[in-house]
């Protein structure tokens, strides 16, 4: 016996109301507790703290950040550093990943073996471990500034980073050793090197596997067709196979970019001043406003993840549209 449809819908609405009620009850219970606890510990609420002077220093800031800067400014510094290292790692992992993917694809046993080793080795070791290794075991064991490794008296490599000449007021300025540290020129801090390098290596293994799979997914007939049209091996790859494989490659590649962006938060472990380290670390410790700080941090990550997805979807749909006309 089937029940009349109306009763069914009414029942369904009732259950949904019960569900909503339960969610609201749980949320408001938690919120009530939070308010009571915050009151008891004397922690202030609201976003006023963003205007307060931060009074700490950051080792790497892409925009000026001094003693008088506010917490809002600190947030921006962290966010920019996150974006900076993510972009570096994405570009690096694309280059290295394509190299690995092609090496794995070619009918050359040695290059294939090396690429397989790279992918199988890197993918199965936690990223945090790789970053720790580069930072603590390699970069920290470099010599002190006074015993730097030198490259033509211009570039200096030591345990405080890479120092190199840079334009200041329209003039090239060379880094010079003064006391225990270098002055002048520009520096790449070891935290940035470790994080960018770790992210690049780790992601390149995944990108390499994706590139290989996408090249392999292209129909063999296309190779034969383009060769019989008189294209050379390289031309066939560049003009036919690669564009065709991009269709398969782009969507999973988007996920890798998103992963790089999210994984850049491991910065907190080695002290690279990214969004998590500066904002959810230092600012949180100084202000104690955990609720506001952590929800802002999470929202920013959500928002940027969303933006990357939208951008890549747009790129992908354009690629698909172009294809239809051909």
């Amino acid at each position: 016996m089937k029940r009349p449809r109306k009763v069914h819908i009414k029942q369904s609405i009732l259950w949904q109301l019960v569900f909503v009620g339960m969610v609201i009850a749980a949320a408001s219970y938690g919120l009530h507790n939070a308010l009571v606890n915050l009151e008891a510990r004397g922690i202030s609420r609201g976003f006023e703290f963003l205007k307060v002077t931060a009074g700490f220093e950051v080792v790497q800031a892409l925009i000026s950040f001094g003693e008088g800067s506010t917490y809002l400014r600190a947030f921006l510094v962290g966010l920019l550093n996150t974006v900076y290292v993510s972009v570096l790692a994405i570009v690096g992992s694309l280059i290295l990943g394509f190299l690995v993917g092609f090496a794995r694809f070619f009918a050359h046993p040695l290059s294939r073996g090396l690429a397989k080793m790279w992918i199988g080795g890197i993918r199965n070791i936690p990223l945090l471990l790789q970053i720790f290794f580069i930072y603590f075991a390699v970069l920290q064991s470099l010599p002190e500034p006074r015993d730097s490794l030198q490259f033509g008296n211009l570039i200096f490599l030591n345990n405080r980073g890479v120092f190199f000449p840079w334009i200041v007021n329209g003039e090239w300025v060379r880094p010079v050793l003064e006391g225990f540290d270098f002055v002048g020129g520009n520096v790449v801090i070891p935290e940035l090197i470790a994080l960018a390098l770790g992210l690049t290596c780790y992601t390149s293994a995944f990108v390499g596997e994706l590139v290989y799979a996408s090249l392999k997914s292209v129909d063999k007939g296309l190779w034969e067709a383009s060769r019989s049209l008189g294209l050379s091996h390289f031309q066939a790859l560049r003009l036919v196979i690669l564009p065709e494989s991009l269709k398969v490659l782009i969507p999973p590649l988007t996920n890798q970019f998103l992963n790089v962006f999210k994984n850049s938060s491991l910065a907190a472990a080695i002290g690279y001043p990214d969004l998590v380290a500066v904002f959810a670390g230092t600012v949180l410790n100084q202000t104690g406003q955990a609720m506001e700080v952590i929800s802002i941090t999470m929202m920013v990550y959500l928002l940027i993840s969303l933006l990357i997805s939208i951008a890549m979807n747009y790129f992908n749909s354009r690629l698909a549209r172009v294809r239809r006309h051909v």
């Binding site: 507790n33 606890n37 050359h108 290059s111 073996g113 945090l128 471990l129 290794f133 938060s265 998590v276």
Partner: protein, 343 residues
């Protein structure tokens, strides 16, 4: 025959020869360096860093002397049995899941028995006077503990979320989408920060959760959301007719999901589920950042010990090998389960 094609593909043309030479150079340098560092110049015997003073390679004494710390963390020697008992029981309970006849028993043990066991011997609720410090548990045991519960609970939570997102009523569907996308959109580190800093605020006064429990809460939420998306992929892969056939046979929605659709869905995505396990296993290392001494955290702490300064490389290489063995084993298992590679 094989040798001929091998030589031809390696040295058949100028380009191929060039690639061969570069690859051989890389391989040669790598093998000789690794052999020299890991074995030839390495020190294996001794009991303090004195033994490694003359070493030109690795100092494996560091790993040997700290091995117990890497395995159990700060746990006292007389309490090792707790960790050992728990891990053996977990292995037994998990292996029960792989046989059809013991599956039900396995489910009960994993979801009810093991949490009780954890409460009894790790949290030590029943005999607090014996005074085992629950924060002393660490090392590889902690990694396995966190990974075990994280992976296990991801299953029911992920299944519920996937079903809710796929075929729940509007409100439930919206809730599931929101829940899944929020956890998937943020890095695990912020989830762990949230669960270690923020969760205590939401609890009523007087209720306190240990650091471990809070970290587990974050990890389960996180892994549940990822699992939900994997299982949803499987649900989409099951032909729509299956559901109709089962309702024609008189099964209600719950029964058709339980007996017909879900088993097929999970079978389709079993390689993806295992890959999910691997990433979760690697991700558990992040608890080191919120100050817990998991395997990586213990290695990290040991390299900072003033009696053993300068042996970071050995520690990390050892940790990398251990993780590699676990993850590579799991990934081999997942490619064996892959239906595409079978055919």
């Amino acid at each position: 025959m094989f040798e001929k094609t091998f030589i031809k593909s390696c040295f058949g043309s100028v380009g191929a020869t060039l690639v061969s030479l570069i690859s051989l150079a890389i391989l040669g340098v790598m093998v000789s360096k690794i052999a020299q560092w890991m074995f030839l110049g390495a020190v294996f015997s001794g009991s303090s860093s004195e033994a490694c003073r003359e070493a030109t390679g690795a100092c494996w004494v560091f790993v040997k002397e700290n091995l117990v710390f890497f395995m159990y963390g700060m746990l006292e020697k007389k309490e090792y049995w707790r960790a050992q008992l728990f891990v053996s029981c977990a292995i037994a309970a998990v292996s029960l899941l792989f046989f059809n006849r013991t599956k039900t028993l396995g489910l009960w043990l994993n979801f009810l028995g093991m949490p009780l066991l954890a409460i009894a011997i790790i949290y030590n609720i029943f005999s607090p006077e014996t005074g085992v410090d629950r924060d002393a548990f660490g090392g590889l045991f902690l990694t396995l503990f966190v990974a075990y519960f994280g992976i296990l609970w991801a299953f029911p939570i992920g299944t519920l979320l996937a079903l809710g997102r796929k075929s729940g009523p509007v409100v439930v569907r919206l809730f599931c989408i929101f829940w899944i996308e929020v956890w998937r959109g943020v890095p695990l580190i912020t989830v762990l920060f949230m669960s270690s800093v923020l969760v205590p605020y939401f609890l009523p006064e007087g209720v306190e959760l240990s650091k471990l429990t809070r970290a587990m809460f974050g990890i389960v939420c996180f892994s549940g959301a990822y699992m939900a998306e994997v299982i949803r992929g499987g649900l989409q892969g099951v032909a729509g007719g299956q559901r109709e056939v089962s309702s024609a046979l008189g099964l209600n929605w719950l029964q058709s999901m339980r007996y017909v659709v879900l088993p097929q869905a999970i079978k389709i995505v079993s390689p993806a589920i295992l890959n999910n396990f691997i990433s979760l296993f690697k991700d558990t290392t992040l608890v080191a950042i919120i100050g817990m001494f998991d395997f990586l955290g213990a290695v990290q702490a040991a390299t900072k010990n003033s009696a053993w300064l300068g042996y970071a490389k050995e520690g990390y290489v050892f940790a990398a090998l251990v993780f590699w063995i676990f993850c590579y084993g799991l990934s081999k298992l997942s490619s064996r389960l892959n239906p595409i590679s079978e055919s």
